[in-house]
Amino acid sequence: MPKILWIEDDYYHVKGLFRRLEKEGYTILYATSANEAYYKVQDWQTYDVIVVDVILPLRDQRDNELLPEVENWKQEEYAGIGLLKYMYRELRIEVPVIALSVVANKLAGTLEALGVDEVLLKRGILPRQVQETVHEVLERRHHDTRE
């Protein structure tokens, strides 16, 4: 079954949003800070979809130290933007990415220019909308690969 990497600091929020996909049999892996996400995205080939919350803390209490690469993301308005730039420009990832954030509307242009597949507004989003979007991006990618 597909594997999703969800990068977001509100764990309970994620749990609620992803319950439907978990019931379908999807495997959800979490990263709750930019620091932790840095390690997890190195294996981007092992995920089918990556979901990123743009407003991310650089580190959380579990992180021992802030990585120098992640420290550079401080220059961005939101750490998630730094992470996305790193994913697309340095790692050259080829898995679908969904950006989900309360600032999604404001940053839609920037996110799409970076290569993000779908931009979702976090406020008011329902589990079935997340489920549908994940299905759509997977289907689209599957279709593109066949062509």
Partner: protein
């Protein structure tokens, strides 16, 4: 049927089943057959009494829970609210697809973040509240955070967030609970 009504029906069903069971046990322990005339005569009275006592107790629990949530949200027992009650409420709101409640809890999460000891967490909470529709509650939380914040950088962020909160009254919603 709303989730609350479903819960009420479930409570009543449990109360009825328990009452019937207890009546059955009582008549058996007194050595009478449950189909005999003396047992049937007093069937309705203890059954209704038990059902009402149980229902009353369950409704009181619901009342206490509502009062607890209201008190916790107002900040009196915030730790209990954010660590134990909020995860349950968020999950329930998602199941009901109650957008207003979800948004309200999202605001609660961010209000909790701006009072955190972790500076990174506070920063994220402020940034999120700055872009969310302003409410009286978030305005008050940010104003309180401004009084307590020692970091110059974060104070500037709070002031910026507050500048988006001038029309806070227009987004206020009644409590979802």
């Amino acid at each position: 049927m709303t989730p609350e009504n479903r819960l009420l029906v479930a409570f009543i069903t449990i109360a009825l089943v328990l009452s019937i069971t207890s009546v059955g046990c009582r008549s058996q322990s007194s050595g009478q057959s449950s189909t005999s005339a003396p047992a049937n005569q007093g069937f309705l009275q203890p059954f209704l009494k038990d059902a009402f006592v149980l229902l009353g107790a369950l409704l009181s629990i619901e009342k206490i829970l509502r009062a607890l949530i209201s008190s916790a949200r107002s900040g009196r027992i915030r730790l209990f609210y954010t660590q134990h009650l909020l995860p349950f409420l968020i999950s329930r709101a998602y199941e009901r697809e109650d957008v207003k409640a979800i948004n309200r809890y999202l605001e609660d999460i961010n209000i909790d973040k701006i009072t955190s000891k972790d500076e990174n967490k506070r920063k994220i909470g402020i940034k999120q509240l700055a872009v969310m529709p302003a409410t009286k509650r978030s305005f008050q939380a940010l104003a309180m955070a401004l009084n307590q914040e020692k970091s110059k950088h974060l104070r500037a962020e709070i002031v910026r967030a507050l500048s988006f909160h001038v029309d806070y009254g227009s987004n206020d919603q009644p409590d979802p609970v």
